[in-house]
Amino acid sequence: MTTLHLGVLLAIAWAVLTMTFLHLKAKSYGIRKLYSKPAGDPAKGVVYAFTLGMAPWAKESVMMNLPSYGAGLAFHAGVLTALGLLPVAAFRLELPSFVLFSVRLFTLAGVVGGFVLLMKRLVNPQLRGLSCPDDFVSNILGSTFALLAFAWTLSPVAEVPWMAEAMLLLIYAPLGKIRHCLFFFTTRYHLGAFFGRRGTFPPGGRFHA
């Protein structure tokens, strides 16, 4: 544990605390009391929303945008792997070689995925129109974080910049769209409960005829 690691720890604490605050704030809007008679089970809808409802074939939007979907998956895998790598660095753990190999693969894929998404955002006029500075900042923070994690697996020289980057990322996370790491779950929960209650989720039928 160095001061740098301590800094990262503090950044983590900040991220967790602010996210908790955001969560509580959103919750403070209150739960809607519902009077209509449910047709289905909200809980089943929630389960569906987090399982088969997330399958690529359950969403036309994914099937029509497979490259973006792949890039998104890679990006998220890279950033999450890099996050998981933080304690490894802090506690100087040895990784078995096949794990190390996967870590390199995922972080590198994350960099590529992040870059592809960034390019898409820059090049596609509609997507550019949809974006605000936060979208670019968040992408760059995440991509750089994955990149430096990858670099760290090659050489400990990268440790200082990587940890610094980790702090930046964690401090920024609750401020911009990275807060979706929390709200993704609450939103999907509400979506599942809504459609579950109405009997639409889980679907009785199939996607296509």
């Binding site: 809007y29 809607r32 409802g53 509609q126 039928g205």
Partner: protein, 443 residues
């Protein structure tokens, strides 16, 4: 057009007080779910082509996330710390006249509240819930398109949305009853009005008595064949529509729902049956109790469920060979995706017609016809409505069917226009009409 129409005049006249009131109403419509939705969008843009508006006219304004962003930017600016501290960074924007105009264009002019983007959103944002809050805010500011509001006002004033008088309604019912007797050859065939204690109170869309009574005749014939104990209300409470679902004024919507509740009470019926109408079902079945803040002491069903029950119980029998022409089925958003009735109509149709072809995609993934969300009542957006309906026209054409069955009068009207504009050459019918034609009548 140098002249300003009514809506534009009202926009120009907006005061700071109006803006503040709009914001307050907007805020009052948000609960934890909406607060979560408004914090969630990652601007991935994957929802773009899930929307029929964008699919037929690929512009930024038609992307669901862009419509959402107009609203969440205001949310951020007014209700989040980051939006106040660093508005430029997170895309927070003030609510002012320009923004109100953009909201009107987005939530009234480019959205049928169909919810297809909800099931396709990467995150899972139920976008129409946010659009509804925005419509409610605009309503407070007097910015509901005039003709949409007029439809609501009709219901409030006359008890039905086409201002049909009681005499006209009753006379039409009696006329249809005569037709029913002719068609069934049973002089005892009745369309009961105000029958106390009937099991079922049936409701219709005013468009049926006013202009298209054949669907009422078909429903009546099915009830007759099933020997249902049913009735219609002669006074307020026969109209199932509720455009309060679209102007998103919950008080007005509740007052319209109250007509149905009162009729149920007055006549002492057990089940409120909603005729084939998507928004009417959504309003009566799902939103009504929320508007009124109380649970109903009775059941609400769609006539689709009832026909399904009749078939399962053997109360009616069908001969599908009486309907030999290939049929496809349109899934109204408020009945299927938002209403949860996906299979009943399919079970019924499979027994009622020889050849049933599914559209692709279908059920909760189906495309809106383009006429939902009150679009049919807003003349100013007609071009967009017809254009966005191109997606449905394409689905219909690709199905190869010659009859399109749509369990919704609102959709039927849009489909009739699509039929004309896109030269589809199909017939458009209700499920009850198909069932009535296929009925096997015991001697």
């Amino acid at each position: 057009m140098p002249e300003l129409d009514e809506l534009e005049t009202r926009l120009v006249g907006l005061t700071e007080t109006d803006i503040q009131r709009g914001l307050e109403v907007f805020r009052s419509k948000l609960k934890a779910a909406e607060a979560s939705y408004l914090n969630s969008c990652v601007h991935c843009g994957l929802c773009a082509d899930s929307c029929h508006y964008h699919r037929m006219d690929s512009t930024l304004e038609n992307i669901p996330a862009h419509k959402l962003e107009l609203i969440s930017s205001v949310f951020k600016r007014n209700f989040t710390a980051m939006g106040r501290i660093a508005p430029g960074l997170v895309g927070a924007k003030p609510f002012n006249r320009e923004m109100a105009k953009a909201w009107v264009d987005a939530v009234f002019g480019r959205c049928s509240l169909c919810g297809r983007c909800s099931v396709n959103c990467t995150i899972g944002i139920a976008l129409p819930r946010i659009f509804r809050a925005a419509r409610a805010a605009l309503g407070t500011m007097g910015l509901v398109p005039t003709d949409l509001q007029a439809t609501v006002d009709n219901s409030l004033k006359h008890g039905n949305n086409m201002a049909v008088t009681k005499d006209d309604w009753v006379e039409t019912v009696q006329w249809i009853e005569e037709e029913l007797q002719t068609e069934t050859g049973d002089p005892g065939a009745k369309i009961p009005l105000d029958k106390q204690g009937a099991k079922v109170l049936f409701t219709v869309n005013p468009r049926e008595p006013k202009f298209f009574p054949l669907s009422l005749l078909a429903s009546a014939k099915v009830f007759w064949a099933a020997r249902e104990d049913w009735t219609l209300a002669s006074d307020n409470g026969w109209d199932l529509t509720n455009y309060g679902l679209f102007n998103c004024n919950d008080e007005q919507a509740g007052a319209i729902t109250q007509n149905l509740v009162d009729a149920m009470e007055r006549l002492g019926c057990q089940t409120l049956v909603i005729g084939e109408c998507g928004h009417g079902y959504g309003a009566a079945r799902w939103e009504g109790p929320e508007w009124l803040r109380k649970s109903y002491p009775f059941e609400v069903k769609s006539i689709l469920e009832l026909m399904d029950e009749y078939l399962r119980a053997g109360r009616i029998r069908l001969d599908s060979s009486k309907n030999p022409i290939p049929v496809t089925l349109h899934d109204p958003c408020n009945l299927v995706r938002h209403g949860g009735i996906c299979e009943a109509q399919r079970r019924v149709l499979r027994q009622a017609v020889d050849s049933f072809i599914e559209m692709t995609p279908n059920r909760e993934h189906n495309f809106c016809c383009g006429g939902g969300g009150g679009q049919l009542a807003m003349a100013r957006y007609k071009q967009r409505r017809i254009r966005s309906g191109g997606m449905k026209a394409k689905q219909i054409r690709e199905s190869g069917a010659k009859i399109v069955v749509a369990p919704c009068h609102n959709c039927i009207d849009q489909l009739m226009e699509l039929n004309k504009e896109y030269k589809l050459n199909v017939q458009i019918k209700t499920v009850a009409e198909m069932v009535a034609d296929a009925l096997v009548l015991d001697a």
